[in-house]
Symmetry: C2
Subunit: 232 residues, 2 copies
DNA sequence: ACGAGGCTGTGACCACGGTCACTGGAATCA
DNA sequence: TGATTCCAGTGACCGTGGTCACAGCCTCGT
């Protein structure tokens, strides 16, 4: 690997507009910490205000209702960041964040972070784009929750998972196959409902389980099923 | 009135950090237009990218499922703005906006708007704070939709409406009383369910209809009712 | 003063999907 | 090679709340 020795922030997308020297000085302003899978990185309603860069690993933004029900908001891959909202407005954490894999995260306090973005318009813009993309996803989810039944929300989620690898043949392979409980947490339903929705789809030859992956055989038809219900 | 003659942007909160001269030049870069109540200002999925300042009047951000079902996201008062997301990322409109009253809006194209905020860190920060507050409200709404029943969502909305005028006596008057259908659109349920929830509450002496307004008689108890269900 | 239109309030009905309770397979580890 | 754990799949049950259908009220406008 061509990387400089020791931890660095060169793979953090948000910081790409910075020149290497600036990133280096930033490295020393961060607190660094490793997390095990399932370890909690940020706690819902905590009043820390650091922004966190995911240098290695992968994390999940979730919330739990005390009953154990889990609502999943986003997965953030290596090179991403989180915690920006509390850094920006000083408010409490709006969700928890847990490590999915072994993870290395760099914490930067709100003050230096805000100084950084006010000094670099390119960073400010990138951050705003991130915030608006989060907003777009949220309003779509609210629309889904308000207008779609649980089954159709599962269908819609399948489409979202499949679209990135949709081939010209109207087939899309999702690999590895997602765990039912995870899909359930992303569309606010239960594991059982997801299982039933998927068996119905495979009964109708719209979807198929192949080895380790889940294959959407007829993407367009699945898409029409969701759209028909949306507008009605 | 002490205002300068002709339309101006002095009451737009976002632009408060600007000096008056800068606001004046901005006035000439805007396109101005008046709207009647119920008139559509922005159309869902439209691909315009202006930011809109609400100079006079009041507007509502909503979406409709083609069935007529209405999902309400936010009301924006005089001095506010909307449309920033499409200006920032160039994407289509994520919701429709309609005038609630007679409204005067100033449209500013994305390019000059982005130049403006990249040149004024104070504006950039204010905009980010606005974007994160939208995100916070959305994630709260998603949590409510995922963990609360329709009745409890109505209760929660009542609390949100009442809190700003909560007195030391544990009583809060909501004035004027909101229309049931509007509450329904804000918490994604039906007019009928709102009516039933409110009669139940007044039967239990938690809420009372007084002349033109709706009075929450026992704020704390209502609050406990919602919290008890949330954590379970 | 009367009729029209918008809002509220309630009853009856029933389907969607959450919950509970299992079974069975597939991995992982001692 | 069991034993344990995690995940998928399915049946039965029934409560919540969406839908439809009306009836009573205001408030306006003419």
């Amino acid at each position: 690997m061509a990387d400089a020795p020791g931890p660095n922030l060169d793979r953090i997308e948000l910081l790409a507009p910075l020149d290497p020297a600036a990133r280096m000085t930033l490295v020393r302003q961060c607190r660094w910490r490793r997390f095990q899978p399932d370890e909690m990185i940020l706690d819902y309603q905590g009043d820390t205000h650091d922004i966190c860069f995911i240098v290695e690993g992968r994390v999940r933004v979730v919330n739990h209702s005390m009953s154990g029900r889990e609502i999943s908001f986003d997965d953030i891959p290596e090179g991403g960041f989180l915690g920006e909202m509390s850094a920006i407005d000083g408010g409490p954490r709006s969700a928890s964040v847990v490590a999915l894999t072994d993870t290395l995260v760099a914490f930067l306090s709100a003050r230096p972070f805000l100084d950084l973005i006010t000094g670099h318009p390119a960073l400010a813009l990138a951050l705003m784009r991130r915030l608006t993309s989060m907003n777009r996803r949220s309003t779509e989810r609210i629309m889904d929750l308000s207008t779609l039944g649980a089954n159709n929300r599962v269908h819609a989620e399948l489409l979202r998972l499949a679209r990135p690898n949709l081939g010209k043949d109207n087939i899309a392979e999702i690999n590895p196959a997602p765990i039912h409980a995870d899909i359930a947490a992303r569309v606010s339903t239960t594991r059982e409902t997801v299982a039933r929705a998927l068996s119905d789809l495979s009964r109708d030859k719209l979807v198929e389980r192949r080895n380790q992956s889940l294959v959407v055989i007829n993407f367009k038809r699945l898409q029409r099923m969701v759209e028909d219900v949306r507008g009605e």
